[in-house]
Symmetry: C2
C-alpha cells in the first residue's frame, strides 16, 4: 500500500523510432493471423514503477534518472520518459 | 505518423498482486547494489500500443480486448487496462 510520504516514479522505456521492435513485429503478425484487422501500427514499451519512501519528489526524480542511466535503459536504442506521482 | 482517423489503444499488462515479479525483484536488488537508496517497492508492466486505422473507437476497444484475450495476456497471472486515444 502506498503511504503518505511515498513518491512513485513511473519510468517508460521504449525503442527509439528507427530501431526495429521485434516484439511489436511479432504481435502485428500474430494479430493478422488471428483475424484482428485494421491495425496500422504496433508499438511496445516497458514500464518500471519505483516507489520511494521518505524521499522528496525532486530527489526521487534524480534517483529515478540515475536508475535509468545505470540500469534500466540504453541511450543508444531507448527513449525514456519519467512521471512522478504522490509526495 | 498518426492520421486523423487513427485510434490508438494503449494496453497495459502487469502481474497480479501476489504473483512474483522476477524482473522487479532483480531491478530492486540491482538498485541496492548501485547505492540507489530509499526504494520501497518496484513494479513492472508491459505496454502495447495498437494503432487502428478506419476503425471506430468502440470497435477499436473491442478488437484490443480480443487481442488481450487471444495473445497479449494470461488472465491467470495478469491484470490489464486499456485506454484509447485519438479517433
Amino acid at each position: 500500500m502506498p503511504e503518505e510520504s511515498d513518491v512513485t516514479a513511473e519510468i517508460r522505456v521504449e525503442l527509439k523510432p528507427g530501431v526495429f521492435d521485434a516484439e511489436a513485429d511479432s504481435v502485428e503478425r500474430s494479430l493478422g493471423q488471428l483475424g484482428i484487422a485494421g491495425v496500422r501500427a504496433v508499438g511496445t514499451a516497458r514500464l518500471f514503477r519505483l516507489t520511494f519512501h521518505g524521499v522528496a519528489p525532486e530527489e526521487a526524480r534524480r534517483r529515478a534518472e540515475l536508475a535509468v542511466d545505470r540500469l534500466l535503459a540504453n541511450p543508444v536504442i531507448h527513449r525514456v520518459s519519467i512521471s512522478l506521482a504522490g509526495g
